[in-house]
Symmetry: C2
Subunit: 342 residues, 2 copies
């Protein structure tokens, strides 16, 4: 048995509308807070859009009897973002800015084309002065397996030029990023469940598995192992961010299929399984909450305890949505830990 204090998921796609309704419970019931990504169909590029989305999530969470759930909001950086809008956001309590390089992943069409150009640097400067946290999907448009590594140079430039700006390297996938993370004081990272449990072989090693297709793409077993080791260590620069990303099956199983793994239904039990396997259960509290509390300076999160017990259960095979469905990560497989319901 283990009891986790205030579990946090610092990178999640909750979507909107019907999908939000179908997936929110997995986060709202078992996490204290989740950092909701702003790449909706209409991206959250201003304060009002962010606040409206927050209301949508909160009202739904309340209807699920999860009024102790806190959605942490982020605003989508695009090139027309003004200083006034940033000040407005700050006053409204938004403190995360999310940067997508244009075209890097699902919903990044409105992202930034030239990350180190004058306009973006101005945004970074305001962000630094107003104590925003800069969350970055760090991939170039180079060869898939090198995109994160190549982006390292940009992380480095931002870290050096904005030394008081906290920068989050989202969903680390390449072991070559780890040195960089440790080199600059103002670089931090999130790590997903899937990048510490799978490699590219799980996408295409046997048949093609679209449900394991994600961005950044899963890399080599060596990358997986290095990231697993980093997560297990409880390193204070690293928070858990699932990057759980629900897509309708019809959008996964097609030509030009969508990238994203829907891991929300299994996060805490699976993490217990892994940390126990490597005899690091003692570090799970840091990875799942304590580190993020400090990095993101989280306050006023209502206290929430989640207890997990060693008991076998089977992961559901799908979540129906109208005539379609969402397939969860590891559908139909067994978990050896289970959340103890109150």
């Amino acid at each position: 048995m283990i009891t986790l204090q205030n579990p946090l998921d610092m990178h999640i796609h909750l979507r909107e509308g019907e999908i939000l309704k179908s997936v929110l419970a997995f986060s709202a019931k078992y996490f204290s807070a989740c950092l909701a990504m702003p790449n909706l169909k209409i991206p959250l590029t201003d304060t009002n859009k962010v606040l409206n989305y927050k209301k949508e999530i909160q009202s739904l969470a309340n209807s699920l009897n999860c009024d102790d759930f806190t959605p942490i909001m982020s605003m989508y950086i695009n090139e027309s973002l003004t200083k006034d809008e940033l000040i407005k956001a700050k006053k409204a309590g938004i403190k995360i800015l999310k940067l997508y390089p244009k075209g890097a992943t699902t919903g990044s069409e409105n992202g930034v084309e030239e990350i180190l150009d004058q306009k973006t640097l101005e945004i970074f400067e305001i962000a630094e002065n107003f104590d925003f946290i800069l969350s970055i999907h760090g991939e170039t448009n180079g060869f898939s397996l090198d995109r994160e590594f190549e982006f390292g140079e940009i992380f480095k430039q931002i870290a050096i030029n904005f030394p008081k700006l906290k920068i989050i390297m989202e969903h680390l996938s390449d072991r070559r990023s780890i040195d960089l993370l440790h080199k600059y004081n103002n670089l931090f990272a999130t790590i997903t469940l899937h990048h510490i449990t799978m490699s590219l072989d799980d996408v295409l090693g046997k048949g093609l598995n679209p449900h394991h297709f994600c961005k950044p793409i899963l890399k080599t077993p060596k990358d997986r192992n290095a990231l697993l080791e980093l997560a297990l260590s409880g390193d204070e620069k690293v928070s858990f961010g699932s990057d759980s990303a629900p897509h309708l099956q019809s959008n996964k199983l097609k030509q030009n299929g969508a990238a994203g793994i829907f891991s929300a239904p299994i996060l805490l039990p699976k993490l217990c399984e892994i940390f126990e396997k490597y005899n690091k259960l003692d570090n799970l509290q840091k990875f799942i909450s304590d580190n993020a509390m400090k990095i993101y300076d989280l306050k006023n999160i209502p206290n929430k305890k989640i207890t997990l017990i060693k008991e076998t259960s089977r992961i559901q095979d799908s979540i129906k949505i109208d005539n379609d469905c969402i397939i969860p990560f590891l559908a139909n497989e067994e978990l050896s830990w289970k959340i103890k319901e109150n």
Copy 2:
């Protein structure tokens, strides 16, 4: 305009039944001969099965008015293959033995588990003594991107221990294989169209494209470029083998989707386009025919000339089969060369 003498495709999956009927014309009309792979639903593990399949292909080719088309047959190596059976095969004119490591690709379930064990070495010895050619899908069961490289050690052992046995490294995909190919006199190779035109990015660099999923998996742009250079050079150790592998769309667009690219409908025009682009049209005859004639010691192939002209055409979007279809490589895209029909 270019006229190719006796184009040869030294590695193709023609399948059986309905699919064979739908795809044979692309090969039988425009190629002099094709080396038909033996990994059918019931694998061609003995002489009778191979000869029956040959009859099926020939009779269908005749019905297409392609009696100048020669199917070159191969027999599937499995551990119960006997010397008597090999002698019978040889007498029946079968001279290619195909080795699949168990589990390496579509239809390899009956392949060889331990390639360098006593039983397989005996088969190689008989093969050497009876002048068979040994065609190998050279992949280990390691990490996808290293499988061909890791198999290099096995190629090396076979090449050294059976110096008179001609060994074909099928569908080269890794630039690290090229040194090996040149190091041993008895190693030869085939190269596909897709491995010289695409990289892993074409499978998963943007959305997921199941129609570009194949084994061996497409690798880095550097690998693609090195293989392209090798093909363009007209190197006498290298033949063209399309590895065209038709699968029903329903088997591609699903979880655990099938590996294989159906390139048969576009091979000669696309090769002209590429060789012209790099100003190497003079070498195409070697790559598409002359090298294979020598490597496989092909005789009695009826003379066939295929003329291609520079004229734009659009690749068909699909080939219907009952309620399903097969999607050709580069469906709906334009070709700048076209086969001149007689």
